[in-house]
């Protein structure tokens, strides 16, 4: 009997079983919420908060650390999907629309960094956080549009803004990270050295993407593969990309984002892959978000200054996005408002940017770290609801939803 109990205890201690249990809980709560017309992703939020750092502590950072490789791969695959939805032809040729979205990304970063600096955060750290705040969270956006079966011009422009923001965010982050490291006297390196280091990682990631996309295209030509079998060949190329990035310590995020971008834009027949694994994708989103929620420490919302600053940054990001959209008149004012709201979510060091090199970043001052913590908490608690509301405001969700 004791042996059986001990086995059960062992099972419960298994990291995989703990993650599985958390995912199960998030699905059950998510479906119940969906039945009441609420966003399913909040199932992952509730489960993550209940079982994570803020709750019983069953799913915590050390446990998630055991899945670092898996998390890296999942995040990179999410970014692949983001890249696949970026229409470079439209972004460039539509001129004002592409400009408005690009301007929104850059303005978010600059304005947020300046705001943080004004509130006393050291400039180098403000720049790092500003770089992160350029990016829109792909899990929140993709999950909400999928959940609401949203489709229309806001959803389309949003998907492009998402890709653009993540691409620009990753590039800006490399620079600001180099700056942060160069300013760390303990490391003893110069800004130039750090910039070279970051650039090599990005360049290597880009080269791997080009190589793997080339392999995919050649394999298709040799096999004369029809549309129905091309996803299988694509999966092999993606795994190859991830593996090569892992052994070369290059940026898998940039690499996979570029793979998606190449697939979408290099050859027009590849525009038309339909998501055959939609359910799998949705579960993946729920898993990633549950893990993010598990890392949220609600105590971060206790300090008034970090919370105030986080709320201000949240509002300013939306305002700056909305102002940037004024450059184009292709969308009605109502759609522009909706777009600014749907793009409110943010990526964070703890969730989207799980690239090992960044996750190991240390040395942020107390205020900067507290603001990031409060932003992460707000992002998990508020951003999905705002994105969900924005899509309804745009009138692009399925009728009757």
């Amino acid at each position: 009997m004791d042996e059986v109990l001990s086995n059960i205890e062992l099972l419960l201690l298994s990291p995989l079983a703990a993650i599985g249990a958390a995912l199960l809980l998030s699905q059950v709560i998510g479906v119940a919420l969906q039945r009441r017309g609420l966003p399913k992703l909040y199932g992952a939020v509730v489960a993550g908060l209940a079982l994570g750092t803020s709750g019983v502590g069953m799913v915590d950072a050390p446990l998630l650390g055991q899945f670092q490789e898996l998390l890296n791969a999942a995040s990179a695959l999410v970014l692949f999907e983001v890249g696949r939805k970026m229409d470079l032809g439209w972004l460039c040729r539509s001129k004002r629309q592409g400009l408005a979205l690009g301007l929104g990304c850059l303005a978010r970063g600059v304005v947020c960094a300046l705001l943080l600096w004004l509130f006393g955060v050291p400039l180098v750290e403000a720049a790092l956080i500003g770089s992160i705040l350029i990016a829109v969270n792909p899990v929140v956006y993709a999950s909400m549009t999928s959940d609401s079966q949203a489709s229309g011009v806001v959803t389309y422009a949003g998907a492009n803004a998402l890709g653009l923001s993540n691409l620009l965010g990753l590039l800006a982050l490399s620079v600001s990270l180099a700056w942060l490291r160069a300013s760390d006297l303990a490391l003893g390196s110069t800004l130039f050295d750090e910039l070279i280091k970051q650039s090599v990682k990005l360049m290597l990631g880009a080269l791997i993407a080009v190589f793997c996309y080339g392999a995919y295209a050649v394999a298709n030509r040799i096999a004369k593969a029809q549309a129905s079998v091309r996803p299988g060949i694509l999966l092999a190329a993606l795994l190859m990309d991830l593996g090569l990035c892992s052994v070369s310590s290059s940026s898998s995020l940039v690499s996979l984002l570029l793979m998606g971008l190449l697939l979408r834009n290099a050859e027009s027949r590849e525009n038309v892959f339909q998501a055959q694994i939609r359910t799998g994708q949705e579960i993946g989103y729920a898993l990633l978000f549950m893990m993010s929620a598990a890392l949220v420490d609600l105590k971060q919302l206790a300090g008034w200054l970090p919370v105030l600053l986080a709320l201000l940054l949240f509002a300013v990001r939306m305002l700056v996005t909305r102002l940037s959209l004024a450059v184009s008149d292709a969308w009605s004012p109502g759609k522009k408002n909706a777009m600014a709201i749907t793009l409110c979510s943010l990526a964070s060091v703890g969730s989207l940017v799980v690239d090992t090199s960044i996750a190991q970043t240390t040395g942020m001052s107390g205020l900067a770290a507290n603001v990031m913590g409060a932003l992460l908490a707000l992002n998990v608690l508020v951003a999905p609801a705002l994105t969900w509301w924005g899509l309804r405001l745009a009138g692009e969700v399925r009728e009757g939803e």
Binding site: R84, Q149, G152, V153, Y156, S268, V272, F273, Q274
Partner: protein
């Protein structure tokens, strides 16, 4: 004086609008006279997602941009938000038609591109799901959705209508009956919807089967041989509350009294707008010939023959056979169209009809639009790919009004 008239007699347009919206009493306007042989073209276009080529509910956004442009043609919404209807101004010949549909093509494409959408011709989207479509947010369409249930969303199909000007109401009825018998030729010629709800339908024009589900579809009844007969028929149905306006008749060819035209409604929207100009010119010449020829009414048995001809044309496209309702002789549609074009060319006064004829003959030589799409499917193209190549065909500009041109632009992208 004028204001007294307005107060006592409701304006025709207002009465018509109320009847069409189903909110006023039944109303049939008097038949307006128009110049014989003038024509107008209406095209229902698909609004597509540029990534998946699925239907995209972006018509309201495109219309918002189009409404800012100055133009002689009109753009209006349709029953679902992935549909966009455009209608030309009054046209006099093939050259007019070609130049205006090309202008429409480039303007609509630009507006669609600005909001991130693509546009396509074609009679039916290859893989859209009817239940995912959204009714256009306008009371008239919501009323249709209430009245017709799921049929309203099923009606997310894309047709081309041709209006031909008629000098009198009786002529309109007479030519309407004559053109009806040849409508299957236009179904075959324009057929380009081989796929339906994600499957190869086995038809060349799957769209043609959708209209049949509506009450008042089919053809103008054989007993109607004058405008008076038509008015009596309308009144009888209106008394029962079955119809309220001419729009409640989904006939393959119907009179359109407010415009002084007859309206040919059986065509799939062509993959290339220039085909629309050529098909309209063919219909125009046929109508002019009928207008100036002695009346030939078909007998009662011709209705079944028509149904058979229609089915065959939708199924086989230009490869199908057509049974002449007057002689009873069956001939390949390809040959009937060629003979028609040769005969009409002799009497046509349109200096550019030869160019229209050449476009149609090139299309016949190439195996028709449905044949071209079926080739893609046979080559292993996915349904998304079929939608993509159709959209690319629409995007390709017509090189020059009188040049020969390729029927299959973008085929190399397969």
């Amino acid at each position: 004086m004028d204001s007294a008239v307005v107060n006592t007699v409701p304006p025709v347009d207002a009465a018509m609008a109320l009847a069409v919206a189903g909110q006023g009493p039944a109303f049939l306007p008097a038949f307006s006279q128009s110049t014989p042989g003038t024509m107008g073209i209406e095209l229902e276009l698909m609004v597509l997602d540029r990534l998946t080529y699925d239907l995209l509910p972006a018509a309201p956004d495109i219309l918002r941009l189009l409404n800012k442009t100055k133009r002689s043609w009109v753009a209006t919404p349709e029953i679902t938000t992935s549909m966009l209807e455009v209608a030309t101004s009054i046209l006099n010949n093939y050259e007019d038609a070609l130049s205006e549909v090309e202008e429409i093509r480039s303007t609509v494409l630009r507006a669609a591109f600005d909001v991130g959408a693509a546009i396509s011709g074609g009679g039916a989207h290859p893989f859209q799901r009817w239940n995912e479509q959204r009714i256009y947010p306008k009371e008239r369409y919501r009323e249709s959705a209430r009245k017709y249930g799921y049929l309203a969303k099923m009606f997310t199909v894309f047709g081309m209508h041709v209006h031909i000007g008629m000098p009198t109401a009786d002529d309109a009825i007479r030519v309407c009956a004559g053109l009806t018998q040849r409508a299957p030729l236009f179904i075959a010629l324009s057929a380009n919807s081989p796929c339906w709800q994600g499957e190869d339908s086995g038809f060349s024009s799957a769209r043609s089967n959708v209209v049949g589900a509506f009450p008042m579809s089919g053809t103008m009844p054989g007993h109607i041989r004058s405008w008076r007969d038509f008015v009596d028929h309308f009144d009888r149905l209106a008394q029962h509350g079955i119809v309220k306006s001419i729009k409640d008749f989904y006939w393959d060819v119907r009179p359109k009294p407010e415009y002084g035209t007859i309206e040919l409604r059986v065509l799939d929207t062509p993959l290339r707008p220039a085909y629309a100009a050529a098909f309209a010119s063919y219909a125009r010449e046929l109508c002019l010939e009928m207008l100036h020829s002695p009346t030939r009414w078909v007998d009662d048995g011709a209705r079944d023959l028509y149904v058979w001809n229609r089915f065959n044309a939708a199924k086989g496209g230009i490869e199908a056979q057509w049974i002449d309702p007057y002689s009873g002789v069956a001939s390949p549609i390809r040959e009937v169209v060629r003979d028609d074009l040769a005969k009409l060319a002799l009497r046509s006064t349109d200096p550019h009809f030869a160019a229209a004829r050449r476009v149609i003959e090139d299309l016949l030589d190439a195996g028709g639009q449905a044949g071209w799409l079926k080739e893609h499917i046979a080559d292993g193209a996915s349904m998304n790919d079929v939608a993509r190549v159709a959209s690319e065909a629409f995007e390709a500009p017509f090189p020059s009004s009188l040049q020969r041109w390729s029927v299959t632009p973008g085929a190399e992208a397969r």
